[in-house]
Symmetry: C2
Subunit: 535 residues, 2 copies
């Protein structure tokens, strides 16, 4: 039976060889890049960006324009920062009393207000913090480059940990399992099954004899399964963990076992969690700024200049003019007016949709199209790091089908006395459930749910807690937005409307990531700058 | 067809239910622990250890004894540290001019001598370092507890990284692939194969209808494969990576593809690398002390007291006496004699086998049994962190079948200007090959091999380099040892021989890990202390 490639009339390797013979090494490498094997493909090309520069104006007789940036979140700060490199006169209007937008790190002494709810006073100890918004950065993201450029020190964010847990209550699991145990069992059983089928000839239409040999060799190691004579049976492996660790002398260690049955492993649904960590944006290694994610907006604000950022300035009207834009805003209880050549509006679309403007019904309809997403977190400061001391969990995330969705163990302060868990980071209906509660109710529910995973100790020794429901955060009202489709509305807002530009992660393909905010800011800055240069 | 459990006469869940019914919740949890599902099994029990305490002597009329510890590596330092808690009078004799043994961190200004070779002067920049010996700590290891107790700050050691590479030259790979790409392709194809076989009924003897449904659902997500109508085909996924990253506006990103064929993926052997990260000792998350692994022996030495450590003291004879032990050693060119109640000998067995003693032919044969292992590393300091800037590799390990075995990207100093790679960390024949060379030859070979993976840039902008071949390190002569079997010799040396105790990772089940050294030290300290209390 020919392989798929032979059926197509060529094998890929021979195809490459032919390209190499006729096109030279360069052509071969370009082709291999397209197929994912060549060094040229090893790191994706970043979307190109050339920051505006004062020298851009030198031979053109043009000067930098005046720009009002609405919103001091990451997108607004980045836009002002990049425009500032070329001498643009930027002013940022920010409704809140701080910069960063959803990039907010909560520390002891902070106050967290909630629409229609009580204001929480944050009582975390010195050195403990909670990234209430974005909390992780993938290596390929532009955010990494801004951290480099701005001198924001980075450390590993522990997005995956073999020692963290998986717990699916609805699947009937009576207790959590460690990721390492779940992987050992799932990989063991699927290796057993595939080895059996392969050996029995069930896949002979898809596999050559050599393929089969290689596949069986791979499965033997991947699944830690038995030999052919044992039926390739998976019967456990020390990859699952130990009940008593290997030690000195004759303490060889007691491997954890035997594994649950194949049916039980499949029924537990633990395997559903695995593909999370293959995602392009979620695969380890991931990173965080040392000391809190707000190091990024803080560094941006310093670079922009605090004098150019008006906090406590809530935009109430946007009027596109024949030349320029007029923005009304309320600050200190009084309505004020600012004018500029251009506006870059980086507020969430659901907030912009509430602000009167003269850009027409199409823009208004477009701003009203994206749907704000519910999400929330609770931070739990414990007086001891029991997850490290008792459970060997030094960071990482526990995944569960409880309405907590995830429990995050801290990626900083290892081996310190105190530590801060994220007791839930959830979405959708689960986030709505918690959002509807008072903080005390959220805390009680989160602890009772978490105790199903960690036992009674989970309820004890809590020093402080804070919860955030992003839909109840004034001036933001959502964790992020989703587009029903990236149709005409998305296209419209990605174009300048008169002298108004829209900007933010919500106008990118990486919504809810700072990368999306940075990329959108770069796009808008480039477009605006080109327009100014040509005007 | 009954399942395996039904054949055995019970299903596991019903077995648990029965235990629960008759034994109460406690009995059920204990059973589930044994089966790997209960919280009690979530973290392995550490081998129990109660440090000696002065109060142990209070009611017994005994006093702490005098102990000579041979070797100031981790085992020796830990033994002296623990005995010191109860007031034992310990002296450590160390042949080298520093503590730590194989735990050695090389920094600018250090000198690295080599038996039969030239002495290298280390010229790394400030802040750059190379852990020449141990470099990673698993969360479950006792080493973590010593870091806590001694106040050694920890950070993540990046043992696995989706952005790092796999390159198998002997398999005909023309270029490396990223781990993320290799995993996407291998998991995609094995999911396709297993889904096909399952759907075709090839595994009906092993799978119930419900099992099949769950398995197919799992494979769909795990492999990112097509639907039943597409034959469950794997045709690529954005988990492989992108050639152009997702960005703003209409830049959706260009996924890397198409994947190589199933036969090519199998032939490449990339899947062989995967199980490394499932290992109980190698699974992420892993950790390292901030600033260099030698923070551990330094902290131990401070706690022991530098006055109790004689460096430059090479043991030349060990004489067990009717009461006590006499040790001859050479220091400052003169032979000296020390006597104590007990000796704890923590030198490598291959070194101890060269030191005359009166413990008999059995002990001598036992000391000569373990086989020293070759291993080596080269540290390459570059003037730029091109792996971060150009390849998005912020830490982690590239795996290759070249004689480099592995290339390690640094787990510290992210986004700094300079950085230090481990250009090879290899074993066995490959390590012997490099060990036989001068440093300059090693450097040239390592760069030429590495350039196969990273291209010409790998040879450029090197600021400094240092290489170590552990078999050529005086007083150590090996990376670690292996036991042909843990037979009578292993048993003999794990028992006190007269007043002499042997101790080290080589007398544990975690050879080549500091955990093994710590555990062995704890075992010997406990045994010696019990003997003193009973004497």
């Amino acid at each position: 039976m020919p392989t798929r490639e032979q059926q197509q009339g060529y094998s890929r390797r021979s195809f490459l060889t032919r390209v190499g013979a006729t096109g030279g090494a360069g052509a071969m490498f370009a082709t291999m890049g397209a197929l994912g094997l060549a060094p040229s493909a090893e790191a994706a090309t970043k979307v190109p960006f050339q920051p505006p520069s004062p020298s851009d104006f030198r031979l053109r007789g043009r000067g930098a324009a005046k720009v009002l940036v609405l919103g001091a979140g990451v997108a607004g700060l980045a836009a002002a920062y990049e425009l500032g490199k070329a001498g643009y006169d930027c002013t940022i209007l920010e409704a809140q009393d701080r910069v960063g937008g959803r990039n907010r790190t909560l520390r002891g002494g902070d106050r967290l207000a909630e629409m229609g709810g009580a204001t929480q006073r944050v009582r975390f100890s010195d050195g403990q913090y909670m990234n209430a918004g974005p909390a992780r950065i993938a290596q390929w993201m532009t955010t990494m480059d801004y951290c480099r450029e701005l001198g924001v020190p980075l450390e590993v964010f522990t997005n995956s940990n073999a020692e963290a847990l998986i717990y699916n209550e609805s699947a009937g699991m009576k207790a959590p399992v460690k990721w390492r145990t779940a992987k050992a069992d799932v990989f063991g059983y699927i290796s057993e099954l595939l080895a059996k089928a392969t050996d029995q000839g069930a896949l002979d239409q898809r596999l050559t004899a050599t393929d089969k040999e290689r596949l069986l060799s791979f499965l033997s190691g991947f699944g830690a399964i038995g030999s052919k004579t044992s039926g390739y049976a998976y019967t456990g492996t020390d990859r699952r963990g130990y009940t008593v660790d290997p030690g000195a002398g004759h303490q060889a260690g007691t491997p954890l076992g035997p594994p649950p049955s194949l049916s039980e492993v499949l029924a537990s649904g633990v395997g559903r969690s695995f593909s999370f960590e293959f995602g392009y944006s979620q695969a380890m290694l991931m990173f965080q700024p040392v000391g809190g994610m707000d190091a990024i907006p803080r560094a941006l604000a310093r670079a922009v200049g605090h004098g150019k950022i008006k906090t406590g300035a809530k935009v109430t009207k946007i009027t596109n003019l024949a030349s320029g834009v007029r923005v009304e805003y309320v600050a200190g209880g009084r309505t004020k007016v600012a004018e500029a050549d251009y506006v870059i509006a980086t507020l969430p679309p659901n907030i912009l949709a509430k602000i009167p403007h003269n850009l027409g019904a199409g823009v208004q309809a477009a701003l009203s199209t994206p749907v704000p997403a519910a999400t929330g977190k609770i931070g739990l400061e414990y007086r001891s790091r029991w997850w490290e001391l008792e459970d060997n969990i030094y960071g990482g995330i526990t995944n569960t089908d409880l309405d907590l969705a995830t429990i995050w163990y801290p990626s900083y302060g290892y081996n310190d006395r105190r530590g801060l868990l994220i007791g839930y980071y959830n979405f959708g209906a689960a986030a709505d459930t918690y959002a509807a509660m008072t903080h005390e109710q959220r805390l009680t529910r989160a602890l009772n749910q978490g105790a199903k995973i960690h036992g009674d100790k989970y309820r004890k020794d809590i020093a402080a807690s804070v919860s955030i429901a992003w839909k109840r955060q004034e001036h933001i009202e959502g964790g992020w937005i989703s587009w029903p489709s990236r149709g005409a509305e998305y296209k419209l807002l990605n174009e300048a409307q008169g002298n108004v530009y829209y900007c933010g992660d919500w106008l990118s393909y990486e919504i809810a990531w700072q990368h999306g905010s940075f990329e959108s800011a770069r796009k808008v800055v480039s477009e605006l700058h080109q327009r100014v240069l040509k005007s």
